[in-house]
Symmetry: C2
Subunit: 438 residues, 2 copies
Amino acid sequence: MQEPLRVGIAGLGTVGASVVRMLRTNSASIALKAGRPVEVVAVSARDRARDRGFRLEGIEWFDDPVALAHSNAIDLFVELIGGEDGVARASVRAALGSGRSVVTANKALLAAHGLELAGLAERGGGTLSFEAAVAGGIPVVKTLREALAGNRIDRVYGILNGTCNYILTRMEAEGLTFGACLKAAQELGYAEADPTFDVEGWDTAHKLAILTSVAFGTEIDRESIFVEGIASIEPEDIAAADELGYRIKLLGIAQRTETGIEQRVHPAMVPKDSDIARIAGVTNAVAVEGDFVGCVVLSGPGAGGHATASAVVGDILDVARGLRVAPLGRPIAALEPYVRAQMRTHEGGYYLRLRVPDRPGAFAAIAQRMADHNISLDSIVQRNRPPSSAPRHLCDQAQPVTIITHETTERAIRSALGQIEADGVVVGRAQLIRIENL
Amino acid sequence: MQEPLRVGIAGLGTVGASVVRMLRTNSASIALKAGRPVEVVAVSARDRARDRGFRLEGIEWFDDPVALAHSNAIDLFVELIGGEDGVARASVRAALGSGRSVVTANKALLAAHGLELAGLAERGGGTLSFEAAVAGGIPVVKTLREALAGNRIDRVYGILNGTCNYILTRMEAEGLTFGACLKAAQELGYAEADPTFDVEGWDTAHKLAILTSVAFGTEIDRESIFVEGIASIEPEDIAAADELGYRIKLLGIAQRTETGIEQRVHPAMVPKDSDIARIAGVTNAVAVEGDFVGCVVLSGPGAGGHATASAVVGDILDVARGLRVAPLGRPIAALEPYVRAQMRTHEGGYYLRLRVPDRPGAFAAIAQRMADHNISLDSIVQRNRPPSSAPRHLCDQAQPVTIITHETTERAIRSALGQIEADGVVVGRAQLIRIENL
């Protein structure tokens, strides 16, 4: 049995506390698997007095995580502070700079500074692991970086945000509005008081930026991601999807195309019988398509202290075992610059929902604009609303029209929609949801 | 860039040829990821002249795989011969004994001799990798051995045989018999001319034996697996499962119990909305339940040259990168002896289908025997056959009775069934299918 691996943990929130608990609960088997004991010897957190359900006796306390990262008392620095800058970044830089290995669950940090940090690890001689930063307990980083590394990856996509999937699942199951389901998610602790980061798609985008780099061997580029959230999804979209054999999911998709790599986050209509459509509630799932393996799907808990701790401890075990893989799967110098496929060249089917005043010729005008752009239609359906006894204005008289297109380009559909709006044959904002034939 | 990893491949069938093709097709990215080129420098196969779609020029040929395994021209020996003994075993022993690393896709070899071979690797200083031996392209060995290694695993189960899942999927979709679907599977190349190994559950058992060891840290023990195949499943069982909200799947299950670890392979009724129930056709899936991670499900192609090659090449990349993990996740000396949970103590619900002659008291006699064994029934249903104009014998007059029990033990249900048969209130063989509430 070798010397213990001495671990310092910065951040003792839900995940940090779970990591300490996991390392203690399963210490015997972890030592056998690692070939050496794994010991938490130092921690840093905001509040020393807080009751975390375990004792800090025998563990060195640091008020300053950067000081912990510099400490010679530790071999491995575990960053669970969060945030893309500030002490999280400073402490990770300090640890890597001093040659220590780092395990982090911090997706924002990786998405913003992953390339810099991977370079620091490479030069310092430590490792940088971040399985917990993407899809919680699901081992997708290891799968891409190691298990499927022989493949040329053509597409990676998935449900990477449990909050959004919970909201969409409930909207579908109960016919509720986005707002009502968001409120329920907040009451259950599945959504933050300020849910913007989740529901606007940014959380998914950060995770996707990391996956893209590891999957395609490109530099991380979170700025080039096309991002749309789920706040605009209405019960009638969910109902229409259902009738058409689809479900609406917020997907993060990275896909090799002729002009570069698409990275996009948006609500998508996916066939009900696809693997991704079946993922309900807060569960996450990632599908990986490789030239030899075909499609592998991983699903499981994407968040939560215990599941995230499982990923952190898996990374810690790699360090304890002495496994060394380049953080992004290949040396920094071997990463290719990320070449963005422009969203306007995206190809796919589209679902549109328009509100069309009930007057002769409106249908024909819309169909003509689609034809002008070479967009062929799978269906165009007017859904009549039940008659109401209340007084009706022009706006009330508008009927929802649902259009499903065959494959076309984002450029064509956007241009057609712009002209339809300019023609004045629709009222208010058009709804557009991309169809993914997974 | 370091020296190339020199690979010798024994066995150039479908998988072997795909491995050569994959290493060539993706050689540039593989070299970047591995930090060194990966080169096939020597091969051994039965027929040198056979056209495999690629040239063997510049590759050293060995008629004898054992000689290849001993050759100083290679760093890594890839065994794709198959079979639990003979040259496969001899060559793997030779390679490990001479300190070389081994990658193999040979489940039978591992299930029979994994412990011995892991010991040889440990003593020789090489590694032994076998991702491709279980569930083809799905990285379940790496996931258990590394990513989820911090967890205490409580249950691993899955669909590990694509042939059986294809047959069961078709039986359900088309209402066909086992025999008809087996024939279709054979015509499509999904089943061997002699399908015994697959449909009797042995293939699943071999894979399960390997998974159990890696998941639970126990010595491989394929002899202790309870195995039942799918040949006895009839369309009326599939139909009854459907009505009850279940699907029938051939599962391999390893589960921690109070008396030891259950290893069992048998057809099981699983709830239609479970992850496993949704796996259709030749696809494989494995679910892993850990104390911290909860449940992670991996699914994908379980067979086929290309998908299996993906797993083999993933293992080769690990060797090229210098990753070293004990073959069974921990040193041989740290493996625990496998303690078998006896099948008679298995607890669960049961589906029974009996043929009961249409005479007064039969129902009551059956129900009484169940009550005698403290088995409470969820339902007992007599399915009347449509009247026939043909002459009826006693046997024809027997009506199928379907019973669903609440949770009980294998011992109780077996004893009750034995007595019911002794009572003479049933005709022919009773069908028994375990219910898994996944």
